[in-house]
Amino acid sequence: MNNFLTLFTKEFREAWRSLKFVWMPLLFIVLGIMDPLTNYFMEDILGAVGNLPEGFMLTMPELHPIDILSASTSQFQSIGLVVLVATMASAISRERQNGMATLLYVRPISFTALFMSKWAVASLLGIISGVAGYAGSLYYTVLLYGSVEAGAFIKMLGTYCLWILLVMAVTLACSAMFNTAVAMTFAILLLPVGLMIDSIIGSFWSLSPWKLSAYGLQFISGKTSEYYTETLFLTVILIIAAVLLGILYAKRNAATAKI
């Protein structure tokens, strides 16, 4: 526990002093408010720059709050996720590669504490960013498209936070297992690219961690997916597996730290 607090302080200082807690939430806020705004102004934008032929009638589909929150979610799940994964994929591997870890690994540290401290800070960063992004999106959604039930929104947000915990556990496990370049490739293939593949051919199955945030979104339209609980359960199991794998490999690869 002492080890954990000491290492957590170190990781937090790193994230704080490199301004990650500032720029990452700002990025998510921009991503979150982009869609409600562009959709709202779509007609004006097309009218202004589209040079539409005289008499052309533009029928915009009527958008509901869930459509806007879905659009924002897909921003977080593509651009936001790639940035988050790319930022954290080097968290363990870089220290090994440049020799900074050597001065820690020669001490009687617990690799469980080491992994958990990094996972805690990475998750905190991801969750704060996700919440900030959704808050921005929600503000414009309510302002421009109609109200959203508070309970439903909180359920959706909680579900997204669980997804972030999985994202960070998988990213850090990759970082524990491989060098930075390989870790980043694997984590991006598993997470953002995995989401994309699941959304293209995922109609053949219903139980998949990549569908978790989509199931969470359904709360907004007042429904609860029949697969929600099972997916939630599956996600928790995968988080535990990724964390265990990460701890195991952080320890096993400690000897590869550059001296």
Partner: protein, 294 residues
């Protein structure tokens, strides 16, 4: 006392360290000497616990987890640039088991000891090579380890920095056991109770400086002539096993022959102008070359 028995490390089919055994007495300094690639760093890595030995053991009398009792300074210590020297040293102390409130005090103490009192609140990103080496020293001793391991502690430093670190080491030697690797023999000569020669992963020679010297001592006479011609002429005429190097001639002594007396008489009888005659013993450098070339 620290006992290392039959330490071996193989990577695939390559044996990097082979069957190395030695003991380190408390509060002594031991120099691990050998050419590059001799297995010095690998040996130190195993002692730190970072690298698991293929076979063999390392024991510190009366200690269970040796990682608690080891301080390690790598050749090129790398620090987290966003932490200050004090924050880093305090973290190092805590991770080595120094309780929270004492950790900061100890960190301040060792930072003052290594001469970083002024810079302890500065981020390490701004540190020069010499300052990093001193910070590396501070983090290695902050938890008062029984065994201090240093990998080429002064090789990368300028003469002033080297002097400072050597002085720190001499002071530390009063309270802790030191094992350091080096390929710079002057440093080894300056501070060592025991020498360990590594060659191709094997411990080829060990003992105190005097012991090793006695064993490899190649006594000889060194004669300085005024001119190079004289030196060459003496070498060819003398019928001794002599070699000339410029205006200096070395005469080997085999079983105490020739005696100094004989040599002087012969020189006196000759017409050569001589400025100096002395009996010399091998330097560590020469011993090193001999051991390395065995």
């Amino acid at each position: 006392m620290i006992t290392v028995s039959n330490l071996t490390k193989t990577f695939g089919t390559q044996t990097v360290v082979s069957n190395v055994s030695f003991t380190l007495e408390p509060n002594t300094a031991t120099a691990l000497i050998g050419p590059n690639g001799a297995g010095k760093t690998t040996t130190l890595s195993m002692l730190t616990g970072l690298l698991a030995p293929t076979s063999g053991s390392i024991e510190i009398a009366g200690v269970k987890d040796i990682r608690r009792e080891i301080g390690f300074l790598p050749q090129y210590p790398q620090f987290y640039p966003w932490l200050t020297a004090l924050e880093f040293t305090e973290m190092a102390a805590k991770l080595s088991g120094v309780p929270g409130p004492a950790a900061k005090k100890e960190a301040e103490r060792v930072l003052a000891f290594v001469g970083l009192e002024e810079a302890m609140k500065k981020k390490t990103a701004t540190f020069s090579g010499g300052m990093k080496q001193r910070l590396g020293m501070a983090q290695a001793i902050v938890h008062k380890p029984k065994l201090l391991l240093l990998d080429e502690p002064v090789s990368a430093l300028d003469p002033v920095g080297r002097r400072e670190i050597m002085n720190l080491l001499k002071e530390l030697q009063q309270q802790t056991t030191i094992l350091y690797s080096t390929h710079i023999l002057n440093d080894a000569e300056e501070m060592t109770d025991q020498l360990l020669f590594l060659r191709k992963g094997e411990l080829v020679e060990s003992g105190s400086l005097t012991e090793v010297r006695a064993k490899f001592e190649a006594p000889r006479y060194r004669i300085e002539f005024v001119t190079q011609e004289d030196a060459l002429q003496f070498t060819s005429q003398s019928q001794l096993s002599a070699t000339a190097a410029g205006s200096t001639v070395y005469v080997e002594i085999v079983e105490e022959r020739p005696k100094m007396q004989q040599l002087l008489e012969r020189l006196a009888a000759s017409k050569f102008a001589v400025t100096k005659v002395e009996r010399v013993t091998a330097s560590l450098e020469e011993i090193f070359m001999k051991v390395a070339g065995q």
